[in-house]
Every structure is written in C-alpha cells, then in structure tokens.
C-alpha cells in the first residue's frame, strides 16, 4: 500500500493536483481521514482550514471510515419515479445522491468506484450506458454519425472511419486561423448550456496575451436529466480528444484538462485509456505528428458538486480552491486556469468539431432546420415510450421528437409537462408548437441549454416535482450569494408547505418576489435559472398550485 508520502510525491508535481490527490487518499483509505487532510495540506501547502472547508463542499468525499463503500442511490426526478426510495431502503447504509446521469436506464447506484444500476427488488448490475438508437428521422447526424460502429471507442476503430484526419490535416497543412474560421463559419455554439459561439471563444483565447494557455473540457454533466456527454465519452472518446487537440492547435494552448463528474468512474478509465493510445500514436503530447505543436492532456475527476459545471467554479475546483464561482468579467478566455487564457467547452461542443472540420462549415450549418445551424443532442427521459439520447436538427418540432421519434406517451397516458435544459429551463405545460431552438424557447421563458428534456404525464404532481427540483438547486447552491443561498431554501420550504404564508395570494407574492430578485441579481447561472421552476409552475400550472394550497388548509 502506498504511504502518505508516496501519494503526495506522486501528485505534488502534477498540474491541478488537489482533486487527484484527495481521490488517491479516498480510494486508499475508503474515506478522508484527518491524517490524510493534514498530509495533503502540508504536501500541497494549502492551509488546513481552507482544505477542510473545501473538502466539505463536495458531496462524495466521505469523512467517516467506510463512507466510500456505502451505496449512493440516485434520487433524481426520474429515478424517484422508478422507485429510488424503495431501492435505498433495500440497500444497507445507502444515502441519496443527485441525478447521476442515467435517466434512460435507471436507477444508478455508486458503490466505491463501481457504477451499478438496478430497480427495487432486482439485483444491481454493472451495465454499459444505453447506445443511442439509429436516428429515427433518418436524418444526417454530426456527433452520433459514427458512434454506433463496433470498436469506435478504440483508436483503430476511430481512425478507420477517418478519425484524427481533421487534426492531421490541420497540423500538416492548415493553420490555427484556418481552424477558427471554419468553426466560426459553422455557427457552432456551446452545447453546455450558455450557447456562446465557439469560434468566437477560440478567437478570443488565440488573441489573448499570456500563457501557457489551457483547454478545459467540461464533462461535469451535473444537470438532472442530462446524460449525453457520458455516451459521447464512453463510445466516442477520441472524438472528444481530437476536438480538444484542435482547440489547442487553434488557440495555441499547450495543456488540457477533462473535468469529469465524480459519478462516471467507468468513463474515467475509458478516457485514460484513450489518452494513452493517442499519445502512443503521436497524436497527443510533445511534438504532435512530428510538428512543433505540443499538447498535454489530463483527466481530473470531480467530487460531487453541480456548481462545478459552472465554468469559473470548475476552474477554482481544478486549481484546488474553494469552488465558488468567480466574479465576471474577467472571463476565462483571458483569466481562466491559473488566471491565464483558457477555453472551457462542453464535451458535445468539442466532439462536434472534428466532423465540422472534416466536412466543412456549410455541411454543419445545413444540418439545422430553417435558419438554424447544426444539431443538438437531446437527452430524453421520463414518461415516454423510448427515452434515450437523440441527435436532432436544431429547430426540430418538439412534437416530432416526443411522438414520432420517441413513441409518444405511455399506454393510456397523456403528456402533462416537459422540462427544458434539464431542470434549469423550468417546466412547459403547453408545448404543442415548440421547436427545439433557443429563439423559440427563450420566447417561451425557457431555454434549450444542455438539452435535457424530462417528460411527465398526467399522473404526476406538478407542485411536488417543482419542490424536488427546487430542493436540488438548494442542495447544489454554492452558498456564495444571498439571493440564491437563501432564495432556493425559502422556495423549497414554500413548495413543500414547510413554511410560508397560508394565504394563497400572499404565498404567490412571496414566491414571485423571491424568484424575480433571484433571476435578476444572483451571481451565477444557477441562481438566475432556479426560479424558472416556480415561475413556470405559476404560469403553466396555476390550477395545480391552487389545489395544492387549498389542500394544505385542511
């Protein structure tokens, strides 16, 4: 067994060492002991009180002996419908964890570093993530075009289909400016939530003074109801790696990190293997393909915090700091990792880049419907015949996705509500004429975001779903800013009927006032988006709210 000194010596020399060093102790001891934290504090010169506070920020670091091996059961909105409470009761010492990104094949359970799935009464098993079905609309895809092929996750499989061709061409014959031009012209925009134009982000980093520059792949995928990044990394890891290498080539970055959510331990192994293979083939590391372009790539595993998907919180987490989001501006493009120019892009965004460079900007633009450019992966889950990941042309009618592609509601049921952007876009109760693109959804007071859509049929209690959603945001609020820290708590209490005015009008006024202020003045996207839950509930389900408030009186 490694000694404390071995572990510290192994990691202290690496970039972004805190998380992997803590995981090393966590894996070795089954929890993070006081002695371990003292060794880490000394080894990395982090004040002990800071380190202690930072460790308590993360959901998955156990601080009591044996904690790491206690089962953690997903109690996300979909798993809850599938019996996660019962499953939790069946498993000794189990505790809940927020949505673990397997809403298409519930219920995920983490035991140490094993990712299992099961239902109440059934044996837990380690099964691979469901592969996306063939495109039901028989439409051309970008990200999923090659993913269903056997052996795609291996270097050979990826290369046999033209993989790393875009990188090779860029390095041998292309130029950084040329890559940026194509990405800009393609209209590719961030697929992680905020939808910022990717080419513009890369250009800003390329032009920013200072270095070394960094590419961060945001693989935190913490949004409930989102499980698309996992399937991309599991079945097409080299597409993500090639996308990162292209971003590095385009911007002059020399190092990269994949910040992977804690809940995907199997994906970590897949990525590590793929990186080793790519490095052996001269596609990563020093002097890539014999050129003078070098790019080192590291995987860093998170520890359970939705806010660490927010890019500046992520950067603080990587740097070993308390993961509060930073004040913006300045943005990561100039002041990112270690305060140096940094690209932060979502997995799907990066995986879209190699096909775009291989087939051209016009090809990608043309995949969208009408004026919309490109495609988006939708993670569809809940009360629908065929949940799963679907790559849709941007602008596709939601109705087509729900009824034609995914088979419509369950036998004898009708759709009541869908969520957008996982939970962050709130609920839609009227969605017959919605198309899947930002202009349409923003006009409805919602947004497409990372593309998680949860479907709830007529059996579901909307107020209770809203309570669960708000409880998630309260659980994940970082606690930095007042409106979100207190607001998510107060809204949860009101939805649960634990506190708040008995009078219905006064109740609605309080809920609306908290929401308005949170949305306007919160310090980051979590607090800005969270009140969409209550706002959409009041907007689209006023009768459910009234009935709920009425029932409380008796």
């Amino acid at each position: 067994m490694s000694t404390d000194q071995d572990l510290v010596a192994r990691w202290a020399v690496e970039p972004a060492p805190l998380l992997p060093l803590l995981h090393a102790f966590h894996n070795r001891d089954g929890y993070l002991s006081e002695a371990a934290l003292r060794a880490v504090s000394e080894g990395l010169r982090i004040p002990l009180a800071d380190l202690y506070g930072t460790v308590t920020f993360y959901h998955h670091f156990a601080r009591e002996e044996g904690g790491h091996s206690r089962p953690r059961v997903c109690d996300g909105p979909i798993c809850k419908l599938r019996g996660s409470d019962e499953l939790m009761a069946e498993l000794d010492g189990a505790t809940p964890m927020p949505c673990a990104g397997r809403c298409d094949d519930p219920i995920p359970v983490l035991v140490e570093n094993r990712y299992l799935a099961g239902r109440p009464g059934a044996k837990l098993r380690e099964t691979p993530a469901p592969m996306p079905d063939d495109n039901p609309g028989e439409l051309e895809e970008c990200c999923f075009a090659g993913i269903r092929e056997d052996g795609r996750a291996t270097l050979m499989g990826y290369c046999s289909d033209g993989g790393y061709g875009a990188l090779t061409r860029a390095v041998r014959e292309g130029s950084p400016a040329g890559v940026i031009e194509v990405v800009e012209a393609s209209g590719l925009a961030g697929r992680g939530g905020a939808g910022f134009p990717t080419g513009r982000k890369w250009r800003a980093v390329a032009e920013a003074p200072g270095g070394p520059k960094t590419i961060v792949c945001n693989a935190d995928e913490g949004e409930p109801g989102c499980f698309k990044d996992r399937v991309l990394m599991d079945y097409d890891p080299h597409a993500v790696i090639e996308g990162m290498a292209l971003a590095a080539f385009a911007t002059g970055a020399t190092r990269g990190f994949i910040y992977l959510r804690y809940e995907y331990p199997h994906t970590e192994r897949i990525l590590e293997d793929a990186i080793l293979d790519a490095r052996d083939a001269g596609l990563l590391g020093q002097r890539i393909l014999g050129s003078d372009f070098s790019f080192e790539l590291y995987v860093r595993r998170g520890a359970g915090a939705y806010i660490c998907g927010e890019e500046t919180s992520l950067l603080n987490s990587l740097e070993g700091k308390h993961p509060f989001p930073r004040n913006k501006p300045p943005y990561p493009v100039t002041h990112g990792f270690e305060d140096l120019p940094t690209v932060v892009n979502n997995v799907e965004t990066l995986a879209s880049v190699p096909p775009i460079l291989a087939k051209g900007a016009d090809w990608y633009r043309g995949l969208g419907l009408g004026d919309h450019a490109g495609t988006k992966i939708i993670s569809l889950s809940g009360d629908v015949q065929r949940p799963g990941n679907y790559e849709v042309p941007i602008g596709l009618p939601l109705d087509t996705l729900l009824n034609d592609w995914a088979g419509g509601p369950l036998e004898g049921r009708t759709f009541q509500a869908v969520t957008m952007a996982g939970l962050s876009g709130g609920f839609l109760g009227k969605f017959d004429d919605v198309t899947l693109d930002e202009p349409c959804l923003r006009a409805r007071g919602s947004f497409l975001g990372a593309g998680g859509i949860m479907v709830f049929d007529d059996r579901r209690d909307m107020v209770d779903l809203a309570r669960q959603a708000m409880a998630f945001f309260a659980h994940e609020s970082c606690g930095k800013c007042f409106p979100c820290r207190i607001g998510t708590q107060r809204l949860t209490e009101r939805l649960a009927g634990e506190a708040g005015p008995a009078d219905a009008d006064e109740w609605k006024r309080e809920v609306a006032d908290i929401g308005t202020t949170m949305a306007a003045v919160s310090a980051c996207g979590l607090g800005i988006a969270a009140p969409l839950i209550t706002q959409s509930l009041l907007r689209d389900f006023p009768d459910a709210v009234d009935a709920n408030l009425e029932a409380r009186k008796s």
């Binding site: 800071d50 506070g53 207190i486 006032d513 202020t517 003045v521």
Partner: protein, 354 residues
C-alpha cells in the same frame, strides 16, 4: 479622460475604480453587507446592484469596473425593490441580527441599520434559520454566535487577506454553509492569533468581543476616544470605548495610518489591566521570600545593591536592559542613558522589536 454617468451626473474616474467606489465618491448611498473597503470585492450580498444601461440584468457595483461611457442608475424603483427583497430574505434567516448590542464589534450594526432602512422586520419569507452557534468554544475573547451569521464571509476573507492567518474557512455549501476552523474545532486549537479582525468586520455581531460585551448591561451609552495602542512601536490607532469613565473595550480605527483597522491580540483584548486590582500601587521588596510594602528609599537601595553586586561578580556586561514598548520616548531615552552611562554596557533593547 474617461467618464461614467451615475444618476445623471457625469464624472471622471481612475483606472481600476469600481462603479461602487465612484458612486461612493458621489455620496450615493449604495447599501452593502459583504463589502469591506480593505478586502477584495466579493459580490455575495448583491445589495450593491445597480442598473447599467445595456446590461440585461443589474450588476453588482462592487465587482464591476467603471468603464468609459457607462450609464448607471443606483436607486431605480426596480433596484430598490430587489434590495428590499434581499433584506427581507437576509433578515428572515437572522431575525435577532436586527437587534444586536453595538459593543459586540465595530461593524455589528450594519445589518440592523439596513433592516431599519428597508423596513425588514422578519415578517416576510419566514423559514428555517441558518448557522449554528458554538457555545462550546469557551475562549475568553471571541463569541461565535453563528445563529446570527449571514454568510458574508468577511471574517474568512479578513483572516486570509489581512491577517494572513487562514484560521477559518467556509464549510458545506448553500443554506448549510458554516464558518469553521479546521475539523470544526475550537479557535484555540486552530491557527487563530485572536487578532479580533474577524470580530470587527462582522456586520451582524455573529462574532462578538466578549470582553466588551461584559459591559453590555451597564446603563448608558459608550463613548469613543481616539488614541494609540500603548503596546508596541507600530502605533496602531484605536478607539477606546468607555462607559461611565471606565474602559469597556478597544476598537481598531479603520483610518489609522499604521494599521488600517488591524490590531493584534494585545491591542484588541489586552486592556483590562487598566482597572485591575492586581496593579502595583506602591514599591514592594522581598523579605524572607515574601513581597512586602516598602518606602521608595528602601526600594531604591535594594535595587542598586543588587545591580552593583552582579556587576562586581560578573562584570559590566552581565546587565541587560529591556525598555517597555509602552514607555514614552523620554523614558526609553533615560533607560539607555542609564545602562550605558551607569553600567558601561551597550546591552539595551526594547520589547517592540519582535
């Protein structure tokens, strides 16, 4: 010259100034709770939000740099409504904080004053309280009454940024955040130096000066007298708090040129000797191993004899004098004169060297 327009008034500003700083120069009364001049702006309370033309949402003025051509409004109806909601929210988790004795600390009334300004009485947004007090921390200097904590993190930031001590930090997240030392222990077992700076920046009195608080129940208001800390050569400016002509506390002066609001444990908490019964009021000499009152003549005699015999036996360099840092210039001068001239040695020093 770059200018910014604030509430219709166009003003020049310097590079690196925030909207908040410019607004304050113009005496706009922008409310804050997480702000402390001496610390890096943090952006937690959001009370300082202002309307910025062209921005979708209000911006926190404390963290937003002034830029040429910005048009800012500091107190529109919408902005004031957000502030009212924020104040109602923060008072709802901390209803006691609106009634805190000012002896707890220099900034302890900030929340109370804003609660009055925004008429926040705790009647809206009722719900669970945050923060857990630490009555188990029985140190005699710092009260840790986290029931009143509003998670502004000024204490944590002052400890790191000003004292450089990193004794405290933030545990957990969201509504469960809690100010903590390593492993949630006692201050005494942490790196805390008991400088008291966290106490003096706390805007709610969640951290309190226990020594001063002893005078809470005495009738009357306290008075403040500006002075210099008597302990060492740094010369920190302090305000001495008195009630009925007796010292009841010391607070650092934020505008003290040597300390800018900082003190150390001695200056902050070490004032109770002034009225101590144990202070010497007359000369004492030791007789048969016991100290007994003596006349000044007898005491001088004994001291002189003692010094002389040491010098005779061990030579002049056997004497070493340390002047009190609390001594005025003239006394310190006399000490060195006495040692050099009287004994013939240069072995003389001052306790403020540390």
């Amino acid at each position: 010259m770059s200018t910014i327009t604030i509430d219709g008034q166009s003003v020049p500003f310097e590079d690196g100034e925030t909207i908040y700083e410019v607004s304050r120069r113009l005496e706009r009364d922008v409310p804050t709770l997480c702000y402390d001049d001496r610390l890096e702006a943090f952006g937690a309370c959001r009370l300082c939000v202002v309307e910025l033309e062209g921005a979708r949402n209000p911006v926190a003025s404390c963290t937003t740099m002034a830029a040429d051509g910005m048009v800012v409004r500091t107190a529109t109806e919408a902005i004031e409504r957000h502030r009212k909601t924020l104040m109602d929210l923060v008072v709802s988790e901390n209803p006691k904080g609106a009634r805190i004795d000012p002896l707890r600390g220099l900034a302890s009334q900030e929340l109370a004053h804003l609660a009055v300004r925004y008429e926040s009485d705790g009647s809206r947004f009722v719900g669970k309280q945050s923060g857990t007090s630490r009555p188990d921390d029985t140190n005699p200097m710092i009260l840790r009454d986290y029931d009143n904590c509003i998670s502004c993190y000024r204490c944590v930031r002052v400890c790191a940024e000003r004292e450089g001590d990193y004794a405290i930090s933030v545990a957990n997240r969201g509504f469960e955040t809690q100010i903590t030392t390593e492993f949630a222990g006692l201050l005494e077992d942490s790196d805390c130096t008991f400088c008291g700076q966290c106490v003096q920046t706390c805007p709610t009195g969640a951290l309190g000066d226990l020594r001063s608080m002893e005078a809470q129940d005495q009738p009357g208001e306290f008075e403040k007298t500006r002075s210099i800390c008597p302990y060492c050569g740094v010369g920190c400016s302090v305000d001495i708090l008195t009630k009925n002509e007796k010292i009841v506390g010391v607070q650092p002066a934020m505008d003290g040129p040597a300390n800018l609001g900082a003190l150390c444990v001695k200056g902050q908490f070490g004032w109770d000797w002034v009225d101590s019964d144990e202070r010497l009021t007359q000369p004492l000499v030791r007789k048969d191993g016991k100290l007994v009152p003596a006349s000044w003549e007898e005491a001088w005699e004994r001291a002189a004899k003692g010094f002389k015999s040491v010098v005779e036996k061990h030579g002049r360099h056997a004497v070493y004098a340390v002047a009190s840092g609390r001594a005025p210039h003239e006394s310190a001068y006399s000490v060195q004169k006495f040692v050099r001239y009287g004994f013939g040695t240069n072995y003389v020093d001052n306790c403020s060297r540390a």
